[in-house]
Symmetry: none
Subunit: 207 residues, 4 copies
Amino acid sequence: MGVQERKAVEKQQRRSQILDAARMLLFSTGIDSVSISRIAKKAELGVGTIYFYFKNKEEIFAALQEEGLSLLYSKIIRLAKKEPEPEKQLAGIANVYYRFSEENKDYFDIINYFLSSPFVFFEPELKQQIDMSGHKILKLIRDTILTGIQKGVFKEAEPRRFSIMFFGTLHGLLHFKKLEHTVLENENHMDLYEYSVNKLIDAIRCQ
Amino acid sequence: MGVQERKAVEKQQRRSQILDAARMLLFSTGIDSVSISRIAKKAELGVGTIYFYFKNKEEIFAALQEEGLSLLYSKIIRLAKKEPEPEKQLAGIANVYYRFSEENKDYFDIINYFLSSPFVFFEPELKQQIDMSGHKILKLIRDTILTGIQKGVFKEAEPRRFSIMFFGTLHGLLHFKKLEHTVLENENHMDLYEYSVNKLIDAIRCQ
Amino acid sequence: MGVQERKAVEKQQRRSQILDAARMLLFSTGIDSVSISRIAKKAELGVGTIYFYFKNKEEIFAALQEEGLSLLYSKIIRLAKKEPEPEKQLAGIANVYYRFSEENKDYFDIINYFLSSPFVFFEPELKQQIDMSGHKILKLIRDTILTGIQKGVFKEAEPRRFSIMFFGTLHGLLHFKKLEHTVLENENHMDLYEYSVNKLIDAIRCQ
Amino acid sequence: MGVQERKAVEKQQRRSQILDAARMLLFSTGIDSVSISRIAKKAELGVGTIYFYFKNKEEIFAALQEEGLSLLYSKIIRLAKKEPEPEKQLAGIANVYYRFSEENKDYFDIINYFLSSPFVFFEPELKQQIDMSGHKILKLIRDTILTGIQKGVFKEAEPRRFSIMFFGTLHGLLHFKKLEHTVLENENHMDLYEYSVNKLIDAIRCQ
DNA sequence: CATGAATGAGCATTCATTCAT
DNA sequence: TATGAATGAATGCTCATTCAT
């Protein structure tokens, strides 16, 4: 390993070290109490050092978002590889997203937080970068449906659109989780989610 | 008009004046730059005066949300009264929500912003109060479906759940509007929305 | 009762009403949270009304101090009347002051708070007025000692000075109550107080 | 002197610079007008800088108190070392305390101000730290009395209690200095103090 | 590379007081 | 007399960012 190479590795390690600290803070005390100086203290680095590895706070948050999306994608693809039957694959993907929203609530929250913000948080370049992760996830759903059509278990004229609608429904319902104790107080949220997934699969199932 | 009456009116006007300023700031510069002192300056009032009319910043934000939800509700109920046919009523409600998200983007944004925030912004009491508005909207959708079932045009074993799923899908898709120029770049968002609404109505239509 | 007289009475009642509110606030939430507007709310009066009866916040606090000193004086004089024997009277006065500092801790605290403040809180006139109450208390102690000397149970060349020293010791020790759990942690404060009172009385007792 | 060393010295100097400013403000304008921003202005530093050196306002006040107590202790110990005879040592300590209350009135005032405040100003930890200084002073008095007993010039069954009473009397009388021009207007305060100290020493002197 | 001292604008909130009604 | 709306300076404190070392 050359000097340059080793330096690059070390640089990546420092970045991770900083992101670790930021993530820990974010998940333990909430976004409002994540400040550069706190990250620095947690990472056992100087404040200035943080600024050497990240242009600003925005960049750190963006990186955390990407982490979350990547994790989600890896979970979905793992499921897809394990479950060959399209119908079950679709239900499985929905299930993975649901579990992600619970087991990785922190990532789910931060993704949604920035996604739903009507205000610009990231520079266009960063935004694009993040959106790409979403792209890959959506494509995976579409592929599942296409496979289902090929295998003759699904029937749908617009698989592209349906895949987006499918993910949109999941997303919207998970979003509504916040209303669990107020608007949806008489509703078991998980049952509602399952019901919806079945309804959607029914809508494209042959017969 | 008596003195008391006029005073009450004036008090209400001041409240509006403050909310106007807050709304303008929120929509023009983003939530992070809405501060009490900025609101005061915009409203041409002293800082203390703001606190005379609102207990704290939270209350101002809550008021803005309620404004938005009330507006949405009034739009939906107007449509419902105009359109007696359940199927068209459902499509109409979806359409109203879509237009609301465009024509009243500011309100739509702030509602979503707070809804998707994983962090507590409001005291339980305020939260409840806000959620009530959502309750009313959801009930209206359910009623439409129930009427449809009674009239024999819809068939659905769980109208309650379906109504939530219906709204969840709309919500999720509108949420995805943000991705219009990245993830969904080859998709006409409005067509996608319409497609989804039809798909949902198909799913409960008799035959 | 003439009009003037009734008006004077009513004015006095309003003053009491305000002081009641101020006292309640002071005793329940501490001096820092006693604000004019809070007093007004508690007294069910307008803010402006408070300013009609008291020139400013200072005057309200001064009035509360006077209340406390008057109460202490009344307690001491009651004891003095009940207990004719000088030695026991002296011990009784000490006891009354001790109990006052416990049973009327709020008054004791506010008196001390303002007394020990090195900074000017009250206008000279107010200050004087408050000090007069202290004067009366001190005189009562001196009288007790003088009576004791007359009766031949005490022997002291400078009864005036001794009375001040006597009260000063009581005062200083009660002041030290604050250190009960730190500096004086191994000391029973009440025993210490009693011990000191006896020591002082011993110092002037004949034989 | 190495870089590290010099930095540590500079850091200490900044702390002093801040405390100097705080002390000057406190002594010139009163506690209520000591605010962080005023300290900052006086010290010709930014507000943030103050917070870099002190966790909060409390810590600054605590530091000032400790300064005062340390100074008093050093004065007392110096006297104690110079004057071996217990009786004179006791009178000397009283004298030192008296002079401290005059020559270092500012420190005496701030110590008393916080000591007599019925309201919590310091966190337990800080409180403890401050009280420790008082502990040391009290112990010194006790030691003087014990030495006197050993030497056969004093006779006292409870030296521990007496030392507290002794200091309590001094403290109470100095507290009364405030009343010099009102309640005690016919009394020379210093003579009164001396009279009391002699009275106390008489009370434990053999024969 | 890494540091950490320094900054000062910014924040939400409180308050005594005034004054037109 | 009594009111209460209005004020704006003031408070303690935080923070992203810079820059000399």
